[in-house]
């Protein structure tokens, strides 16, 4: 199995988002052996869950498809899904890594016919849509999923529901006896492309996320706008399923705040500017977006995009960090309270829906990493003391897709250098 072919000439890439896929591909296409490890059942990471992506407003699945094709064609990449790194020891050029592989309960024979999903009735919360809806406990994470293989949720294993799935499978792919496995590999270099997660919005107490149904996060909004999302692409607010035409975006929700994340998450201004265009797409001139901000940070060449949105009559800007939100008990509308900086006017403004532009926090926050790994004050990976482990993409800094890809390519190059050095010393 995979374990036997890994040597200290192998590069381990942890995380299969856009950064991990890029890092793996760059190295593999240079002829290096790569093991790509992904925690979830699919590749793609957070980008695959965006409806459109800035600056070109294309669908992320398009870029994803190209990368997936490259991965499928490349024999130097060994992909391990549902796998997490639990320990790393050793040093540059010679690491021993321990991986924990969770059971998928479906083997390689799966043709993704979907019969198992039809057979079961049990439902579980759908992580793809950030828990906004439910899905069958036998599922394909999303249409573009790679690998195209179903997953049986562990909650139905050992129950009659699990047996139903097994009985329904025409090719005998459902294997309910699969167990968690631990694998140890030796590798020469490690790239952490573990990405980011949204800051827990419930911690921003005055905004009432979790208390007020019509206060959601920017990630949830991406899913609302997406035809593959829980509402089939209609912008319906969670509180009562009504169309949300008058939407407030609150910037720096949890970022640039000593009480939450200290750093500027750098992409959320652009994300909100982009999302105002979802509102326009859905409602035309009837839609209304209001961005509450401290200052708009549309980094470098994205200034054009900002100017384009500024010209849009359906979008207005209020220079103010909202102080608090209360709910209008009669209609469920969130009411935003604050004082604007341009004139110091006190406002109490009602909207149909509030979208919190939540900050990006490294996914590995709280995860035990090897001692050698150097983190900055916000837990982004800077590198390692021994020079054999690297951060890539959003794991290294709050980056958009374009910059993540650049960063991943750089990390890949560093890893290749480590491998080559190891090879040349061994040859002597």
């Amino acid at each position: 199995m995979t374990a036997s072919i890994a040597t200290n000439q192998t590069i381990l890439v942890v995380g299969g988002g856009i950064s991990g896929m890029t890092a793996a591909l760059e190295a593999a296409e240079c002829g290096k052996q790569v093991i790509l490890v992904e925690k979830t059942p699919v590749l793609g990471g957070r980008t695959a869950r965006l409806y459109r992506y800035f600056p070109k407003m294309c669908h992320p699945t398009c870029g994803l498809e190209i990368n997936l094709r490259r991965i499928k064609q490349n024999r130097n990449i060994r992909l391990m899904t549902m796998t997490e790194v639990t320990a790393v020891s050793g040093s540059r050029g010679n690491y021993s890594v321990t991986l924990k592989v969770a059971p998928r309960f479906v083997n390689e024979n799966c043709t993704a016919c979907g019969k198992c999903a039809e057979a079961v009735t049990a439902e579980v919360s759908n992580p793809w849509n950030y828990g906004l809806d439910k899905m069958k406990a036998a599922y394909l994470p999303h249409n573009m999923a790679y690998p195209q293989r179903y997953v049986i949720d562990p909650s139905i294993v050992g129950t009659p529901e699990g047996e139903k799935a097994k009985a329904a499978c025409p090719v005998g792919a459902v294997d309910l006896d699969m167990k968690e496995e631990t694998v140890t590999l030796s590798v020469g270099a490690v790239i952490y492309a573990t990405g980011w997660r949204p800051y827990d919005a419930a911690k921003i107490q005055p905004y009432g996320y979790g208390r007020f149904a019509n206060v959601i996060t920017s990630l949830e909004f991406e899913r609302l706008a997406d035809p593959q999302g829980p509402t089939g692409g209609k912008i319906l607010r969670p509180g009562d399923g009504k169309e949300a035409k008058n939407i407030a975006f609150i910037q720096c929700a949890g970022s640039r705040d000593e009480n939450h994340l200290r750093h500027c998450s750098r992409i959320c201004c652009m994300a909100s500017l982009k999302q105002t265009q979802y509102v326009r797409e859905a409602f035309g001139d009837q839609g209304k977006s209001t961005i509450y901000y401290i200052d708009i940070r549309a980094i470098d060449r994205f200034e054009d995009f900002y100017q384009m949105v500024q010209k849009d009559a359906t979008v207005s800007f209020v220079k103010s960090k909202v102080a608090k939100i209360v709910e209008n008990a009669e209609n469920g509308n969130p009411v935003l309270h604050g004082v604007d900086t341009e004139g110091y006017h006190r406002y109490a403004t009602e909207h149909d829906l509030v979208v919190l532009a939540v900050g990006m926090e490294p996914e590995i926050t709280g995860v035990k990493l090897p001692d050698d790994v150097i983190l900055d004050s916000s837990n982004f990976i800077e590198g390692s003391k021994d020079g054999g482990m690297f951060g890539a993409g959003a794991a290294s800094s709050p980056l958009d897709v374009n910059r993540s890809v650049q960063s991943a390519t750089a990390a890949s190059l560093h890893a290749i250098q480590v491998i080559r050095k190891t090879a040349s010393t061994e040859a002597v």
């Binding site: 005055p206 000593e258 103010s320 960090k321 102080a323 004082v339 006190r346």
Partner: protein, 207 residues
């Protein structure tokens, strides 16, 4: 006091921010404000006063010395600390507000007849006299600050509260004769004088 004011104007010229940094408690943190507005929007008194902390901090940077030091807003702060716990830049807003109030008061620029300021002065004078607060005298002075008629009205309004305090032995009518002081009153006065001397030196009130 006016000399202190003239000296300060002379010394800092148009740089009111520098003046605040040098003389106001936590004044060096004013420049950290990013004008986000959270404090202004979080202050429970916000709608009732002219200058929110956000506005005051901007006015300081804009050199609006007379407006800031003549503002009654700092005296309205109830020290609820709502602004301070929410400020994304962790400015010690409450402390700065009180620091500014104190500075304006000492320069003789604070607004006359501002009730909180008057009460604070009353409290201070009362407390340093004997080293402990004579609550009866403090209350009486406070009620009668606006003259006899309004004083009686106010005192009558608070009658039941006063009676309650009296029953709970929290208010002693004998204190009308001056009340008792701390043990070493002389020592206490010396401490206060020394503290004042140090503070004057630090805040530039000694010539």
């Amino acid at each position: 006091m006016t000399t202190a004011n003239t000296n300060a104007i002379e010394r800092y010229r148009n740089n009111f921010l520098k003046e605040v940094e040098a003389n106001v408690e936590e004044g060096h943190m004013v420049k950290m404000c990013m004008q986000c507005g959270v404090c202004a929007g979080s202050c429970p008194l916000g709608p009732h006063w002219t200058h929110s902390p956000q506005k005051i901090f901007m006015m300081i940077r804009a050199g609006k010395r007379d407006e800031v030091l003549g503002s009654d807003s700092m005296f309205m702060c109830t020290s609820c600390y709502n602004c301070m716990v929410r400020c994304p830049r962790q400015l010690p807003i409450t402390h700065i507000m009180h620091g500014l109030a104190n500075y304006a008061h000492r320069l003789g620029l604070a607004p006359k007849g501002q009730p909180t300021r008057d009460f604070a002065t009353l409290f201070w004078n009362n407390a340093i006299k004997k080293g402990r607060v004579n609550e009866l005298m403090l209350t009486l002075r406070h009620y009668f600050r606006g003259g006899l008629v309004s004083g009686i009205k106010e005192a009558l309004g608070m009658q039941s509260v006063g009676l309650g305090l009296f029953m709970a032995k929290r208010l002693n009518p004998m204190e009308i004769f001056g009340g008792h002081g701390v043990k070493d009153l002389k020592g206490f006065h010396a401490i206060v004088a020394k503290a004042k001397e140090i503070e004057d030196r630090k805040k530039g009130f000694t010539a």
